[in-house]
C-alpha cells in the first residue's frame, strides 16, 4: 500500500522514520542528475544520512537494465548490506523503478524509501508499487509489484527539472484529473507545472494511490490509470526508433486519440472533447507520422501486453471523471481518430 508524505522534506518524518527502522547501513540510489541537483537537499533536510553509501547510475532509460541491476546487487553485497538495512531511491521514474526492483529482490526484499524528484515520478512512477527494468525494447518486462516503506514527495525538487521533464509529468497529472473528476481537472489545468503546491500535488497523487489501494493487482479499476497509455505506449515505441518522445508527451497524445475515439463513438460530448483538446494540443503538439510509422504503431497496438486473445483493449471516456476500462477498439478506429485530430488542426 502506498504511504505518501507530500510536503517539504525538512518538515517530514523521514528523520524519525530512519531512526525507527534503525538500519546498520543506508544506501542512496541516484543518477548523475539527482546526485548533482537533489542529493544535497535530501542530506541537508534529513539527519542520519552522513555515512550513507551513494550508488550512482547513468541518467536515462538505459539504466533500467538487468546488467545494471546485477551490478547494484554486487555493490550492495560488497557493502555488506543486510536484510534490515535501508535503501533510499532518489530520482525520477527510472530511479524509483530500478531501485524499487533492486529493493524488492535483493535478499528477497529489503526496506526501501522512494524520494521522487521529477513531476512524473511524484504523480505516477513512485506510486503504486510497480517497479521494474526493460528487456531490450520491451519496457518493464521484468519487475514486481511491491511497495516502499514510504514515499516522500517534496515539490521543491520540481525546481531542479528542465521544462520538458515538467511537461512530461504534467500530462500524467492531467490524466489523473480526467479520470477523477472535473473539479480536480480544472485545478490542474489552471496550475503552472513548475509551481504546483503541495495541496494540489497531494490531491493528484491520491488519485493514483486510492485506485491502487482498491485494486493493487490490476484486476479492474487500476486499469483506469491506463487512460491514454494504449496509443501512448505504441507511439513511444514507434518514436523510440527515431528521435524519441517523453513518456508524458506520448501519453498526452494517447489521451487525445482515446478521447477522440470516445467522441466518434458518441460516448463523449463535444464540450468535454473541446476542453480536453484545447488543454492538451497546444502543450503537446501532434507529431507527424509517416504511413510506415502509423502501420508500425498499429502493429504495436496489436501486441500490447494488456490485450487478451488478439483484440485491442483500451480505456475510453464518457466525460471528464467518467473513464471506462476494457473497451475493445479496432486498429482502424485508432488510425481514424489520429487522422481526424491531425486534419482538424
Amino acid at each position: 500500500m502506498d504511504n505518501l508524505f507530500v510536503g517539504t522534506l525538512i518538515e517530514s518524518d523521514l528523520t524519525r522514520l530512519i531512526q525507527k527502522l534503525n538500519p546498520n547501513k543506508i544506501a542512496i540510489l541516484t543518477d548523475e542528475n539527482t546526485y548533482e541537483h537533489c542529493l544535497s537537499l535530501l542530506m541537508n533536510s534529513v539527519a542520519g544520512l552522513e555515512s550513507a553509501e551513494i550508488l550512482q547510475v547513468e541518467a536515462g532509460e538505459s539504466s533500467k537494465d538487468l546488467e545494471i541491476v546485477a551490478h547494484l546487487y554486487g555493490a550492495l553485497t560488497e557493502y555488506g548490506f543486510g536484510r534490515y538495512d535501508l535503501l533510499i531511491n532518489l530520482g525520477g521514474g527510472v530511479i524509483t523503478d530500478l531501485g524499487g526492483f533492486l529493493g524488492s529482490t535483493y535478499k528477497r526484499g529489503i526496506q526501501f524509501i522512494n524520494v521522487p524528484t521529477s513531476l512524473l515520478g511524484m504523480v505516477d512512477a513512485a506510486i503504486g508499487g510497480k517497479n521494474g527494468v526493460n528487456l531490450g525494447v520491451y519496457k518493464n518486462q521484468v519487475g514486481t509489484i511491491n511497495f516502499p516503506v514510504q514515499t516522500f514527495i517534496d515539490p521543491a525538487f520540481l525546481q531542479t527539472l528542465p521544462e520538458t521533464e515538467r511537461l512530461s509529468g504534467y500530462a500524467e497529472a492531467i490524466k489523473h484529473g480526467i479520470i477523477h473528476g472535473r473539479s480536480l481537472f480544472e485545478k490542474i489545468i489552471k496550475s503552472d507545472p513548475s509551481q504546483i503546491d503541495a495541496t494540489l500535488l497531494e490531491a493528484v497523487c491520491s488519485v493514483k494511490a486510492d485506485i491502487v489501494k482498491a485494486d493493487t493487482f490490476e484486476k479492474g479499476d487500476r486499469k483506469l490509470l491506463n487512460f491514454g497509455h494504449t496509443f501512448g505506449h505504441a507511439l513511444e515505441g514507434v518514436m523510440m526508433e527515431g528521435k524519441g518522445i517523453t513518456h508524458g508527451y506520448a501519453i498526452a497524445i494517447g489521451m487525445l486519440v482515446e478521447s477522440r475515439i470516445s467522441l466518434d463513438r458518441g460516448l463523449l460530448n463535444n464540450e468535454d472533447w473541446e476542453l480536453i483538446k484545447q488543454n492538451l494540443i497546444f502543450k503537446y503538439p501532434i507529431p507527424h507520422l509517416s504511413e510506415q510509422e502509423m502501420d508500425r504503431l498499429l502493429d504495436l497496438l496489436q501486441n500490447d501486453k494488456k490485450n487478451h486473445s488478439g483484440t485491442i483493449r483500451t480505456c475510453l471516456i464518457e466525460g471528464i471523471g467518467r473513464c471506462i476500462i476494457d473497451q475493445e477498439v479496432s486498429g482502424e478506429e485508432f488510425r481514424n481518430a489520429f487522422n481526424s485530430i491531425t486534419n482538424d488542426l
Copy 2:
C-alpha cells in the same frame, strides 16, 4: 499462501486448474534430469500440455544464476508469453527456486505452478514462497517471497531420485519432525525415504506450510524452519570450496551440532539428544574438518545473513517438538559442540 496437493498427479485437479486458468500459452521449466525422467509422467497425467513450450536448463546449483534468468526472460518473450499465461516448474529445489523467481518477475509476475520432483523440493524448497538465485558464492542473494497458484506433490517422482538426493530431502523431513513433535518425528524416522506414502508426506509438508502461513515474512516463528541451518549453511559454504556436500546432509550435521549445544546448555535432556543423534549420525556421518576449515566455518557463521549486529543467532531445542528461535550462541560453542560429537564417536 501455499496451496498444496499431495497425491498422484493423475488424480489431482491439475487438468481442471489449467482449464480454469485458461492460458493462451504454457511453458514447462525443466532441467536435463527432469526432462528425461519426470516430464513424461507429467504429460501423461495431465491434459492440455501437448503444445507446451519446454524450457530446459542444466541440472545443478549453477543454474540458479542471473544470466540464466535473463536468458529465460528472453525465451518467454520470444515465445510471446503473456501476463495471463502459465509457467509450470518441474524439478527439484533449483528449478522451483529459479522458476519461482522467473514467474514472480517476468511481466511483474505471471501465474506459475510448482511440481517438485525431489524429496527436498517436496518437503522444503517448493513450499513457503521463497524463490531466488545465487550471486556468485552468495546463496539466494536475489529473489522474492511469492507463492505459486498451487504446488502438486506426487510421491511417484521419488522413484526417479538417486539415493543421495533422497537422503538430502529426508534430513529436512526429519527437521520438520523435530520442530513439530514426537509423533510425527517417530513416523518419519521409521519410514523409508524412497517409499514415503502420500499421507506422511502431506503431514511433513504441512509443518512448513502452516508455519509459513502464520509468518510468511519471517518476523518470528518462520525462523523455526532454520533449525540446523546456521551451522548447516556455514558447513555448506566450507565444503563448497572442496568436494561439496548436499544441502540436506549439511543440515543434518547442523541439527546434530545445534542439538548438542542445546544439550551442553542444559536445554535438551540426554534421552532426546540420543534419539536425535542415533537417527542422524549413521545416515549422515560427520565429515572431517581441518583446523583451517573450522576457522573458515566460524567466519562464515559470523557473517550469516540472519544475524543482527554481529552476534550469531540460531535455533536451539528444548526437546523434540520444542524448538526455540533467536538464541545467541558464540562461535566457540559451535566449535565445542562439533568437537564433542566427533570425540564421542
